[in-house]
Symmetry: C2
Subunit: 495 residues, 2 copies
Amino acid sequence: MPGSSNTNRQGWPQDVGIIAMEVYFPSQYVEQSQLEAFDGVSAGKYTIGLGQSKMGFCSDREDINSLCLTVTQKLMERNKLSYNEIGRLEVGTETLIDKSKSTKTVIMQLFKESGNSDLEGVDNTNACYGGTAALLNSINWVESSAWDGRYALVVCGDIAIYASGNARCTGGAGAVAMLIGSNAPLVFDRGVRSSHMEHAYDFYKPDMSSEYPVVDGKLSIQCYLHALDKCFERFTTKAMAAGLRPNNSTLDMGDAFCFHAPYGKLVQKSFARILLNDFLRDGNPDFKGRYAGLEAFKDINLEDTYFDKSVETATMQASKDLFEKKTRPSLLISNQVGNMYTPSVYAGLASYISSQSSSSIAGKRAILFSYGSGLSATMFSMRFSDNKTSGGALDNLVKSLSDLKDRLNARQCLAPVDFDSIMKLREQTHHLAPYTPVGSINVLAPDTWYVTEIDNMHRRKYECKSGSSVAAGDSTGVKQTSSQTGGRVNVATQS
Amino acid sequence: MPGSSNTNRQGWPQDVGIIAMEVYFPSQYVEQSQLEAFDGVSAGKYTIGLGQSKMGFCSDREDINSLCLTVTQKLMERNKLSYNEIGRLEVGTETLIDKSKSTKTVIMQLFKESGNSDLEGVDNTNACYGGTAALLNSINWVESSAWDGRYALVVCGDIAIYASGNARCTGGAGAVAMLIGSNAPLVFDRGVRSSHMEHAYDFYKPDMSSEYPVVDGKLSIQCYLHALDKCFERFTTKAMAAGLRPNNSTLDMGDAFCFHAPYGKLVQKSFARILLNDFLRDGNPDFKGRYAGLEAFKDINLEDTYFDKSVETATMQASKDLFEKKTRPSLLISNQVGNMYTPSVYAGLASYISSQSSSSIAGKRAILFSYGSGLSATMFSMRFSDNKTSGGALDNLVKSLSDLKDRLNARQCLAPVDFDSIMKLREQTHHLAPYTPVGSINVLAPDTWYVTEIDNMHRRKYECKSGSSVAAGDSTGVKQTSSQTGGRVNVATQS
């Protein structure tokens, strides 16, 4: 048990936050430079213009349920956890394959053998923000009277694919699982998290039969940057009240800044915008130091600058060195896999952690900006524990993510023409029933869950590819078949 | 402000629970007895067999967003609340019209004028359970360090419709909004809520382009009753530990029992099953009193009895009087409107409250069972305040629901043939874009939001029908047009 129950407690448990993280991404990718040639666009459009190097993708063997099964089991095994130690499980996703049945209930198959089914939480939906909703709900649960001392498990995953054309290169896929509890090595700051929620049709998925979104590209950038400004303003006000903002600078408050990352270049612009916001609040800006080159912009209105190239260029120049230090390391997975949607900002956090040692990261603060179109956005901060003891909680968290680069390098590269065929197959077979996927199982990494069959009632069956496990957990190498509820099928009366 | 901030507090706020409720149901209904004749089934099949009298339905003028806009605005106006007093807003629904954009963000249009956009929470999805997930999240939030003293608003809504045939009579539609905070007149019991979550394909919606579910009728009943048994077992164990279960009976612990209600007859069977569970745990059952007629069943296994007619008949007989007292009043809306999906169990709670006066309800305890296929289920309990002062919080809650019967009686009855035409129109136009709804606006109740247009990009516009308001709120009688984010539409790069 990670902690004692709240039942007789005064106040909240100590150090509530993230105890462990697991990241899963597809075993295949396409080179963005090759995709530029294949798409017939100018060299550098995707790689330099968007800041993307590789893009991960799934064949018809993987769906949102299999991604979440894989990342959940990997987290459990790597951390040698029993399924009885989990008291809450919720999911964030926008890759819906059913309007009613949640991915959470599919993951419950992993819990079957343990007999543990007393776990609150279902699926959270709002574009790329669902994982953050699940995470904040879980933090609240640990602080509530309902907490029974067990861990919460937050799982977010998505398959981001676009119709062929100029947006396809901004796809990606993956899943992140996070273990939440008290006495965590990565602790949520209290009283500072700040949201901005608004009605917008910037990116949405009204065609329920398609995997592709409808996107208003320009509006979506404007919505993202506006939400960032609003969250910054509220977060900064709360951080000042909490005594967490030094030197009249929110930029100085964070050692790491992780953003929801549709593509790298937007994140770099967003980091520059943090500096711009700090600047506009600064009564006595240092034009010889941090704010050099910004003299002309002292009286600008934020809402006029979303597409102002001169402001963008000047603030990106002024923030360049800080960006390299505080944000670039968090873009590893974004650069190598693409946009994961709900897991994106957490893949960014994991990337940042994987760039550090427990010694270098101890005591540091990360500020996260989560954005989901539609729109929902929250800015919040977390602080890494000061305890860098080898084998301690922080050390375990850092070490568990140290294999990220090796795992990225172990993937298989496919030519754009083969990637395109796989996308075509997904498009043609999406929501078909009955359907038996044809994608290669060999190419999947060990311990990956995959779809074996979709029957004529759309019921999906999954298996786990046996192989060397990420840790010496109980189910290492054991071929698991998801239990399937059968039964006579007739149309009747229930929900 | 409903309460002070948690920031410097020891422990949790007092009396966290439901402060106000609002129920919305469609203005039109069909008589189940007439539907029996129209469908060519034997008289009594729907009315006696299922226990349903009337079924509400929506034309193409209403969708999930409009239902939630209507019930939210009604709750705000009836309780004379400012939109700045809300600090959290989340939605539960399984009536998805977009895979990505949440209904929560559409409701944010009502908040626009207030400038308040710092509200956590998105949409919760798992069949009929999403509203309960939203409610429990909101209770946790009020108890967490993130609570800033403002109210949480929980909105659940659904349009439940089935393909023509023997399941169509189990449809319904509606929405419920609940205001959550401290010092509430209906207080959540702490430490007792109990869940059962499991993978099942009992009722689900894998055909994303259709409004109709896939249902395994027999399996869905088995799943519901099994989840009830599991939740009963855990809830009872926790209630005993909390000293809340008197007389060795969970049935005696609750003055009211509200169930998720697909149809009345299943609820009656479920109430009987509570008695059966109590009975099987009773070391010394009173066969001359409560358990008369159950002698033969002392050694049965619960899992063998889901479709055992003799057990069902005996337990329904033994629990008949208690059912009439403790559960029948909660079936008013279920009987008159049908299955609302996510709002169902809360429409049950509202129905129960509307059957009482503040004097008769003070100090009583309600036990709720929420079920969503797939599956997720939770049992929890709440206690009504002892303070029955006229004009007090409890009195306000009770009085605000006292018009339910009048509102149900004010609806318009349509002939089955006209109902059938409206269902056909929904089926043919579901997800069409562009589309202009043709349903009558005249038939809608005052202050109902409705769809005016779906443009070629699937963007939906809504207006509110002006008229006498439910209360003297600021926006009474003012025709409101939802703000619409326009902008050039091009496919690009975001989420």
